[in-house]
Each structure stands twice: as structure tokens, then as C-alpha cells.
């Protein structure tokens, strides 16, 4: 089961800060995981993201990149780098709202988990072991193919206020749709990048 956790070294970020990402489908214990966040259980300091709000790998890693850069510059708006990752998905400055739209909810079935190695004892092995015993779900590869099956395009467009954007509805995966998806992805990255600039 440990093979489902992917550890990523993002360009520009220090080598001491690898990112660990795991994707789960058919999660059974979302209310329990959410409760751990609410009660502030330090063992559960993760970014728990509802994967239906994630368009692609690039979309997810862009939010991570922004959050970790803000962390390195001591500019966090929320409690820690993991809550900041959830917040970084958001195009607005409302933290509670960002958790409602992108964070785990009691009804979450597909879950994206991100953990940043903010301390030396956080390693691929330790994260993999803890997730294996905490998340009741089916591990799935963190790639565009899997994400595109999970993503709720209508929900994503609504969250980013991109209703008028000319993108074909979900479910279609023909070649003509690729440029539409790229346009949507680029619009999301732009919204993530300029958040906070009033």
C-alpha cells in the first residue's frame, strides 16, 4: 500500500522540503478525518483536499507551490502550511470559504492528501505508514488521467467564477476538448497566483 504515496521535489523549492501526495478513491471515513482537523489533532496535520475540486496535477501542485513559497517567506494567512495549501486553491481571501469549497467534507469520497516535510522526522516512510492506517480508501495514482475522472468541472468553474468560460462539460475526453481544458487550467493558475492582490 505504501506505493500509493508519491514524494515530489518541486523545482525552486529547497531540497529539504519534499512534498508527499496521495490520492484515495472511495474514502469511507471522511467525517473522522475532518473531525481530526477540527479538533486540531497534530498527528493529522495534512492538507485534505476534496479531489472533485482538483482539475489536474498542475492545478494541485500550483496551489502547493504558492503555499510553500508563502511559508518560506513567512507570509502564511492561515494556521500552518497545510491549511495554507487548501487556502491556496481559493481565488478569494476568505479562509473558511476556501475550506468549504476545496477542503474535505463529511461527504468526500475522493481525497487528495498533501504533506510537506517541514521537519526532518517527516519522511516518505512515516507519512506513508500513518496514512495507510488512517485513511480508509482505495489508493489511486496522482495523475491527470485519474483526476480527470474525479474532477467536477461545473463545481470547479463555479468556485473560480468562470461560468462564462468556453469549456466543454465533463465526461468528454476527445482531442477537441484538450485546448478547452488547457484554457481552464491556465485560468485557474492565474487566479491562484494573483489571489490577495487587491
Amino acid at each position: 500500500m505504501t506505493s500509493s504515496l508519491e514524494s515530489i521535489q518541486l523545482p525552486h523549492l529547497p531540497a529539504s522540503l519534499p512534498i508527499h501526495v496521495a490520492l484515495y478513491r472511495d474514502v469511507q471515513n471522511a467525517p473522522f478525518l475532518r473531525q481530526q482537523l477540527i479538533s486540531g489533532n497534530a498527528d493529522f496535520e495534512y492538507a485534505f483536499i476534496d479531489a472533485s475540486s482538483v482539475l489536474s496535477r498542475t492545478h494541485a501542485l500550483s496551489a502547493v507551490f504558492r503555499a510553500v513559497n508563502d511559508y518560506l517567506n513567512e507570509r502564511l494567512k492561515s494556521r500552518n502550511v497545510h491549511s495554507e495549501i487548501v487556502f491556496s486553491f481559493s481565488p478569494t481571501n476568505n479562509i473558511a470559504d476556501s475550506f468549504r469549497k476545496f477542503g474535505i467534507s463529511d461527504s468526500t469520497k475522493d481525497l487528495l492528501v498533501v504533506k510537506v516535510s517541514t521537519a526532518p522526522e517527516i519522511t516518505h516512510e512515516s507519512v506513508a505508514a500513518h496514512l495507510a492506517q488512517s485513511v480508509e480508501g482505495t489508493p489511486a495514482p496522482f495523475n491527470d488521467e485519474t483526476l480527470s475522472r474525479i474532477a467536477d468541472i461545473t463545481k470547479i468553474k463555479k468556485a473560480y467564477k468562470l461560468g462564462s468560460l468556453n469549456v466543454a462539460p465533463a465526461g468528454q475526453t476527445n482531442g477537441a476538448n484538450d485546448s478547452g481544458k488547457k484554457l481552464l487550467e491556465n485560468s485557474l493558475l492565474g487566479a491562484i497566483a494573483i489571489r490577495g492582490a487587491t
Binding site: L10, P11, H12, L13, P14, A15, T58, L61, S62, F65, R66, N69, L72, N73, R75, L162, L165, N166, L183, N186, S187, L189, G190, A191, A193, I194, A197
Partner: protein
Amino acid sequence: MTYTPPPLPPPYTNTSPPPTLLTQGAEAHLYKTSYLTPTTPAALKIRPSKPYRHPILDKRLTRQRILQEARCLVKLVREGVSVPAVLALDYEGQSENNNGGAWLLMEWIEGLVVRVVFERWEAFMKCSGELGGKELEREEKKVRGLMRGIGGVVGGLHRAGVIHGDLTTSNLMLRGLSSGEGEGSPGMEGDVVLIDFGLASQSISEEDRAVDLYVLERAFGSTHPRAEKFFEHVLEGYQGSYKGAHITLKRLQDVRMRGRKRSMIG
């Protein structure tokens, strides 16, 4: 003496291999680097802090300018105008240890700037002397197509409510062309992409739009004498690109008569 560019702002001090400097202007340095994966190229624009300015003023100006550029790009991406997408941004700049600099990371556009395409084309036309009627017609058809494409993109930009502010053939790219030394006539197919929004602003006034076109027209006249006579096809491509285009084109006539500074300010 070799030139040493200012130190990179964080997080690019970690980057391995370090970003490569491509060009520099008065306000910014442009680097090539990567984003999210080591093999995804990206363009990094850094506005270093200016040591001769008062620190508070410097921070405000830098922030304001990089944000202006980023906002225009984000808006244009959303409107589907072909410009490089904004990947990441830091408008604060680090003030502490003086290696400051706000930065803007953008999508990498693979291709050639239109200036180079025309330089190659003009060189080709010159050395091939008198072309036969058929070949000449083929060459001119290619140029007319590119010109219409340029007009269409500029029209899309104006439709979205953005003024570029520095339209020259160096700020237009042709996507997909290889940079290899072309001997023959250069290809002119591919999407035209607008770059460098360092002087861009948001406006829907026909005066501003007309001045944008006028600046481009003058740029063609001075840098590509052989291609200048095809400029009318830029306007042709522009004409159909949005509803108010004909009003802007009418205004362009006035601007030609008097030059670009109507307000006489600045």
C-alpha cells in the same frame, strides 16, 4: 568586465540548474527556468529593486507594476486571447537583505518573435532577387496571412479591454516555429502570441486603442520596410475582430495626422 545580473530573489536561489538570463530591460530581467517539473519550461520575469529609490517608494512602484502586468495577463487568458499564462507570482519582493525583487513566472512560448521572422523573410527576398510571378504571389500571400493574424490578435486584446502599450514586432511571437537557422523563406503559420505586458493597461477608449495600432504601424515602418506595405492587412484582420473595431480604425486616421500624444501630458 563581465556583467553580473542582480542576485535572484527567493525561491530561485535554490534553483538547480539556475535560471538562464535571456534579456534585460531597464526595469526587468527575463530568465528561462522550469515550473513544477524540471522539464516544463517557463519564463521568469524579475523586477529587481532599484537601490537609488527610496525603499518605500521602490516597493510600491515595483508591486504596482508587476501586478498591473499580471492582472492584464490573467484577464486575457480568461478571455481566450493568446498570451502567456501566469503560473506564479510574488509581488512583495523580499526587502530584508537587499536581494529584493518581485517576480512573475509565465508559460514558456516556443517560437520566434515576428521581428526575426520578417528579418529572415526580408533577407530571403533580397538574396533571391527577382522572383517569378508565381513565387512572388506565394510569398506575399504568406505575409498577408501573418498580417491578418496579427490584426486578429490585437483586436482580441482590445475586445478584452486591454491596451498593450508597446506593440512592436519584438513583442509578437509566432508559436511553434523552430529557431534553427532558416536558409529559405521562413514559415509564417502558427498562432500569433502577444508578449511583454510591462506597459499594458486596462482601457476601452478608442483613442488608446488607436494609439496602440499606430505604434505598431510605426514599428513596422521603421523595422521592416519591405513588409510595411502589407500593414493594411493587419487592419483588415483587426476590422472583423470585435464590434467597435471600425470606430477605432476611424480614430487611427486622426492619430496618424497628429501623432500619438493627444493629451500633451508627459
